[in-house]
Symmetry: C2
Subunit: 241 residues, 2 copies
Amino acid sequence: MPINDIRIVLVEPNHPGNIGAVARAMKTMALSDLALVRPVDFPSHLADRRSMGAKDLLDKARVFESLEEAIGDCRLVIGSSARERSFPHSILEPRECAAQLVGEAADGEPAALIFGPERTGLANRELDQCTFQVRIPANEAFSSLNLGAAVQLLCYEIFMASRTPEEALASIPKEKPSLQIEMEHFYDHLERALDARGYLEGEMREVTLSKLRRLFNRGRPHSGELKLLHTMLKMIHNESE
Amino acid sequence: MPINDIRIVLVEPNHPGNIGAVARAMKTMALSDLALVRPVDFPSHLADRRSMGAKDLLDKARVFESLEEAIGDCRLVIGSSARERSFPHSILEPRECAAQLVGEAADGEPAALIFGPERTGLANRELDQCTFQVRIPANEAFSSLNLGAAVQLLCYEIFMASRTPEEALASIPKEKPSLQIEMEHFYDHLERALDARGYLEGEMREVTLSKLRRLFNRGRPHSGELKLLHTMLKMIHNESE
């Protein structure tokens, strides 16, 4: 799902290094639309350096004189704020926030996620321009995420929310566990190998075989791993011949 | 749910600033057990400065000569790695990783989440000591999260996974939307106020009332908001008297 239309807006960022860190965080999560409202120092070499390969986002970042201009074309605007404000009714958690933004992007609409100055955060007057507010759950005794970390977290949730079920599955190329028929073939081999070494004699035979089955079942070996195990069984077997 | 037993282990961190950033990220998410394996420069003023109020974690951080010592008392060890390795079978996503770690902590067992040196990441030999590997989903063309960002993200997922349903609900003190009986009382008042101003005459009466109902229903006003709306209706009403 395309998330290019989701805009990250920084209001009065004080430190150019943070702008670079934000660009890097956005790019790792496939976002690219960065808007800056009255940045204190931009463009800046420090921002470029901290962006670590995300300079392309800084080069095309747009600078605005007011928040109104930066979000004028959006229908959905979410403001990030760590502080509790007087409108708890409209506070979202990061996952809800991401679902809202991704839903809007799916409709082909631009949508904005805005962050305030490092020390003070968004002012009430700026939060009043937001459809919702998002708050990152954190340690109540120490909730001071820095700007780059907050952007990283919320962009990660956006990226996660944007993945189709197919993409989510494909992101980790899991090898398929073996079929039960292959497992049974392996257990036959295991029994023969241990029998050949006289290990399964006596009354504990069934209990031992059952224990081994449970151990290997739990490991859910894929075909390459099963092949390795078969090779080991052959070694056990051959030694006794 | 207590997550104090979840240990963050940094293997050969090169930059003391990153150790400070990691301490800060951990503390924001209520984690406190930091272990360092052969840190290049620690203790360090730079680490203290970057920790921004999480110096207590640095003060009690333990330093080890080997990874084996740092994780010897754990049954569950998860290694963070951005690169695809040859064992896709045991790669978890951040949420699965967090669920595993929190489950272990709930059993009263220490568990470790380990991170490699900034440039190279964990070596294969170190990943071989892990129960599972975790990979943060990211832009395939640009997946370079820095160490502090990776720790922040995974600690956030741990914090989210550790919350009981009650804590999750309490984290955002939502005011309850009004009862339907209160809404009906409001709609009665609305109709009376608009009638008093002659706004509801003619054939569009029912359509207009229905439109207004849908609008206010969607907003799900809580009792304080409903009180504001009643006050506005009184203003409409009184002007006509």
